[in-house]
């Protein structure tokens, strides 16, 4: 599966996509399609697609950590959990309006990112991976055992929010909510990638020492990546809580973190279109092959291994230079 094996049609297509104007056209068409799909889709399809947009947000968030800054985070579900529980607790137990809980969720996930990232981001990458894994498990166990989080059974009966008087309760509502969030996440990712900070991430990823010698605060820029990634997870979790109306600790397992990571790796670390493709593959694959059941994660793991061995840049083609 070397790049030379790409058919010339694909190469031409990619070259064509290199032009800013052409890329905008494609994006507009895709956005338009995404907007009108609910008019023709049935409820099941809508649910699956909503889920795909949801994973797109999570994967884009993790992509900032893994793809841009090159840090392996094996506990990303923890930030998603922090967001979901913040909204869940504030709405169901304190009766606070959903929209007001979003800033709180963002703040809490940011704090969680700073608390875990601050002292650990100077560690070697493999140690960091283990620390994030441990942190993910700690968050889940805490959620399982505290009273305020509803223990092992979690929180139920989280109120659906209303938006200018319309109660967001139908599938189509959440489809649009998650679509808009995903578009916003793409926008933010794109802008960050092509910014001073985005370049700093790339410098640090390529050569930490050289980056530091150029005056870049290695730990500082990593912390930015970590905290921004955490915020993506927090926001996604917040909306997840009101969409599901119930959350339980078992949603936020290590397997969940690995799944999100898989989406990032599958499509191509650091590439926004790749990550979107990865997130969709993650959601659509088990829906298309329903008979697989418990084999799902096994197949995902095998795919992940094959990708790493033969095409570490992911399925999305690399830029032609």
């Amino acid at each position: 599966m070397s790049p030379s094996a790409d058919t010339s049609v694909v190469t031409d297509g990619i070259n064509w996509l290199q032009h800013q104007r052409n890329r905008m056209i494609v994006l507009m068409v895709m956005a338009a399609v995404a907007m009108v799909i609910p008019l023709v889709a049935n409820n099941y399809m809508l649910e699956v697609l909503t889920n795909a947009w949801f994973y797109t947000i999570l994967c884009l968030g993790l992509n900032i950590v893994v793809g841009y800054a090159g840090l392996l985070d094996l506990g990303y579900a923890a930030f998603f959990a922090v967001g979901a529980y913040t909204t869940g607790i504030l709405t169901s137990q304190f009766g606070i309006n959903f929209w007001l809980t979003i800033p709180a969720a963002v703040l809490c996930s940011m704090l969680a990112g700073i608390i875990i990232g601050g002292p650990t981001l100077r560690l070697r990458s493999d140690y960091l991976a283990i620390v994030t894994l441990g942190f993910g498990e700690i968050v889940r166990i805490i959620a399982r055992n505290l009273e305020i989080t509803g223990g092992a059974s979690g929180l139920i009966g989280i109120d659906r929010p209303s938006f200018f008087g319309i109660e967001l309760s139908q599938g189509i509502h959440f489809y649009y909510v998650f679509l808009l969030l995903a578009i916003f996440a793409c926008f933010v990712s794109y802008r960050l990638q092509n910014s001073r900070l985005g370049r700093a991430w790339q410098y640090v990823r390529e050569d930490e020492d050289a980056a530091e010698a150029m005056g870049i605060n290695r730990v500082g820029v990593k912390l930015y990546a970590y905290v921004i990634g955490a915020m993506f997870g927090g926001v996604a979790g917040s909306f997840f809580a009101v969409k599901m109306t119930a959350i339980s600790p078992e949603t936020f397992t290590f397997a969940q973190s690995v799944l999100i990571l898989l989406g990032v790796v599958l499509g191509g670390m650091g590439k926004i279109p790749g990550v979107i493709v990865g997130a969709f593959a993650l959601v659509l694959f088990p829906e298309i092959f329903r008979g697989l059941g418990s084999m799902r994660m096994l197949i995902f793991a095998i795919v992940m291994l094959i990708i790493m061995l033969y095409r570490p840049e992911g399925i999305w083609p690399r830029k032609q230079s």
Partner: protein, 304 residues
């Protein structure tokens, strides 16, 4: 029970737990020492070892029953099989990745870990498997402190394996080559050492020690589950870090320290057992932040 009795009993429990941790930690430390790879799949090799041991035991129980002889026999065979599996994993998944960025090889190791655990999950349908043995429940009874012969045998065999490993690494030419590669791989190539072979051998030894621990755990706890590798993997890694990753005596020491800490940790009042893992992971995180070189690890050149 007097305080002294509690201390003695927890000491015994801690030693048993610690010898499991030490056996698994050895594999982490050896692989890390030689190719600087954190082998996420190592805990899963322990789990696979348990299942392979169970399979062999069931196959030969008609012949030898489920006695000590059968258990030892299945443990040795499981060690060989899992050792080979470790070598295959190294050859297929890790060797092509050694020059790749660290992130890639870590993700590869994660993928291997997921393949092993989910593979066993698919085969066993996610069920617990009873590991039946007909070992007696007798043991040494010191009044309030009780140590079963099974526990005693497990600690003795774990110690035996570690002594053999220690002699192998320090007294044989292969062991010398292993230590040399850990220091400078390129120089070893120039000196005509078959580096790939020694790395494969390291994986074989590390994996088979994990398998031995897996079979022992099956005997001790009486059941097996596909997810059992995950937590012990983390804890053994903690043990390896406590001792100083890359150091073989460090892994043994770290395993014992962690085993004892956990055993005595259960005696802390007001802390329920559901918080046990939070305690261990928290300890790991603190350790990595405060003293990443561990007790016996070499200090690296200090960077600011």
């Amino acid at each position: 029970m007097s305080t002294l009795d509690i201390i003695l009993q927890q000491l015994a429990n801690g030693l048993i737990l610690g010898s499991f941790y030490a056996l698994v930690a050895l594999g982490y430390t050896m692989v890390y020492g030689i190719i600087k790879l954190l082998n996420f799949a190592h805990g899963d090799l322990y789990m696979v070892g348990g299942f392979v041991g169970f399979l062999i035991l069931s196959a030969i129980s008609g012949l030898l029953g489920e006695s000590w002889a059968a258990i030892v026999c299945s443990m040795v065979l499981s060690m060989l099989a899992v050792g080979l599996l470790g070598v295959i994993i190294q050859r297929v998944a890790y060797r092509p990745m050694l020059q790749a960025p660290r992130l890639s090889i870590l993700i590869t190791a994660l993928a291997v870990s997921m393949i092993l655990s989910n593979g066993v999950m698919a085969i066993t349908d996610g069920e617990y498997l009873a590991f039946n043995t007909d070992l007696s429940f007798d043991g040494l009874d010191f009044g309030n402190v009780f140590i079963s012969y099974t526990q005693l045998a497990l600690v003795v065999s774990a110690s035996l394996l570690m002594v053999i490993l220690y002699l192998f690494v320090n007294k044989t030419l292969y062991g010398k080559a292993m230590r040399a590669i850990a220091i400078d791989q390129d120089a070893c190539k120039l000196m005509g050492i078959n580096v790939n072979r020694i790395i494969a051998m390291t994986f074989f030894i590390g994996s088979s020690l994990a398998a031995a621990a897996g079979v022992m755990a099956g005997v001790y706890y009486g059941s097996l589950h596909f997810s059992m590798g995950f937590v012990i993997g983390l804890k053994a890694f903690t043990a390896a870090v406590i001792g100083g990753i890359g150091s073989i005596p460090g892994a043994m020491l770290g395993g014992l320290v962690l085993g004892l800490l956990e055993a005595f940790g259960t005696q802390i009042p007001f802390v329920g057992s559901e918080w046990k893992d939070v305690f261990s992971f928290g300890l790991l995180i603190l350790l990595l932040i405060l003293k990443p070189t561990g007790i016996l690890g070499k200090t690296e050149i200090e960077r600011m």
